[in-house]
């Protein structure tokens, strides 16, 4: 998704780093990488270390980091949003109305990334330190414990202790039920379905349980669809 933008911005001091939250490792990621043929680094994060450090709950999420290594937009959804919840579960397609919202959401976000890539700190989309702190979602003790269970579960599984590994992956998902990163990766490790997509009836039941509540806070970006929860700042 980001290759065209990256190629277009090759002259800027700008780079994309795409981290694959992929406990099955490089071989599972390879076919996707070869399809997208990115010229920016694609890294394999079997233990979901980046999601842990930056407190992410799903993919894709993104963080903007400036030339000095400072966060100017903390973790936020980067291409996924609640419009996806109206997707037809058999065909995977979005209804007409949601398609338009998804297109607007994507256009708004990509434009914002382009603007920042070109203008850096002068971009109106780069937060001041105060704004960046205000947008941080900080983990609580349950999240920290969930991340510890996830990593232990991953390691036990990798060492051949699948039964006990799965117990810890389950504990992780129970402690942090809002993390699709944990829940869907654990499902994907237990069993690789024919499509490779970790979305079964239980997953959709969890999505349905969100009701009218939002899974994601929308990115705080002017032009983002208000139907997806964006509220312009005063």
């Amino acid at each position: 998704m980001w290759q065209a933008l990256y190629a277009e911005l090759a002259q800027e001091d700008f780079i994309v780093i795409a981290v694959a939250e992929e406990s099955r490792g490089a071989e599972t990621a390879r076919e996707w990488i070869e399809l997208a043929r990115p010229t920016y680094p694609v890294l394999i994060d079997r233990e979901h270390h980046v999601a842990d450090l930056y407190n992410m709950v799903n993919v894709p999420q993104a963080v903007w980091i400036d030339e000095q290594g400072r966060i100017v937009r903390p973790s936020e959804t980067a291409g996924s949003h609640d419009a996806w919840r109206s997707r037809d579960r058999a065909s995977g397609t979005l209804p007409e109305s949601a398609l338009a919202l998804a297109a607007q959401a994507k256009r708004t976000y990509v434009e914002a990334v382009r603007d920042w890539a070109q203008h850096g700190a002068r971009s109106r989309h780069a937060f001041t330190p105060e704004q960046a702190r205000a947008h941080l979602a900080l983990p609580d003790d349950k999240v920290a414990l969930a991340n510890a269970h996830f990593r232990l579960g991953y390691h036990l599984r990798a060492a051949g202790n699948v039964t006990e590994g799965d117990v810890h992956l389950q504990l992780a998902a129970d402690l942090r039920p809002d993390s699709w990163n944990i829940y869907r990766q654990a499902m994907n490790l237990r069993e690789l379905g024919p499509t490779g997509l970790a979305a079964d009836d239980d997953f959709f039941a969890r999505v349905d349980a969100l009701g009218s509540g939002r899974y994601y806070p929308p990115p705080d970006l002017e032009g983002f669809p208000t139907e997806l929860g964006f509220a312009p700042r005063e």
Binding site: D13, F14, V16, I17, A18, V19, A20, E21, E22, R24, A26, T28, A29, I33, P41, V42, L43, I44, D45, H49, V50, A51, L53, Y54, N55, V59, P60, Q61, A62, V63, W64, I65, D66, E67, G69, R70, I71, P74, V113, R133, L136, L138, P139, D141, A144, L145, N147, A148, H149, R151, L152, H155, L156, N161, E164, R184, Q185, N188, G196, L197
Partner: protein
């Protein structure tokens, strides 16, 4: 052999002794396994030292060994292990992660690409980095 998982990575130690919720390590093996060093002022990591509670020193120190699990809990960090006590996860506390994020300094990490070459976020200092995630699932 005991496997110890921390933020610094994975280490294997053949001198560790697990007993219930305790994990004893000879002080000499502590830096490699945990990044902490036993000093007269307490356990130290870089410039930072944490004194051990005077009233219960034996809980943390005995016969030249350090109870790493008890120390980790003293720091308020999660400690987990498998049933056999051979794999220990010494996690980060929510406050560790929160404090790091609040500085707005992007937490560094090192990961392999598909060919096994290692990349650190800090290798790209001087550029604006759009750090994004994806997955096959």
């Amino acid at each position: 052999m005991t496997t110890i998982l921390t933020d610094a990575g994975v280490s294997s130690v053949d001198t560790a002794r697990a007993a219930g919720e305790d994990l004893w390590l000879p002080a000499a093996d502590l830096p490699r396994a945990s990044g902490w060093t036993l000093k007269p002022e307490g356990l130290c990591q870089g410039e930072m030292c944490v004194p051990l509670p005077r009233a219960a020193t034996e809980r943390y120190l005995a016969d030249g060994a350090v109870n790493l699990a008890a120390f980790w809990r003293l720091l308020g960090r999660p400690v987990l292990h498998d049933t056999s006590g051979s794999t220990w996860m010494l996690g980060a506390a929510a406050s560790d992660r929160g404090r790091a994020l609040c500085t707005l300094e992007a937490p560094d990490f090192t990961l392999p690409d598909i060919d096994g070459n290692l990349h650190s976020l800090s290798d790209y200092r001087g550029k604006r980095v759009f750090l994004t995630t994806w997955s096959s699932w």
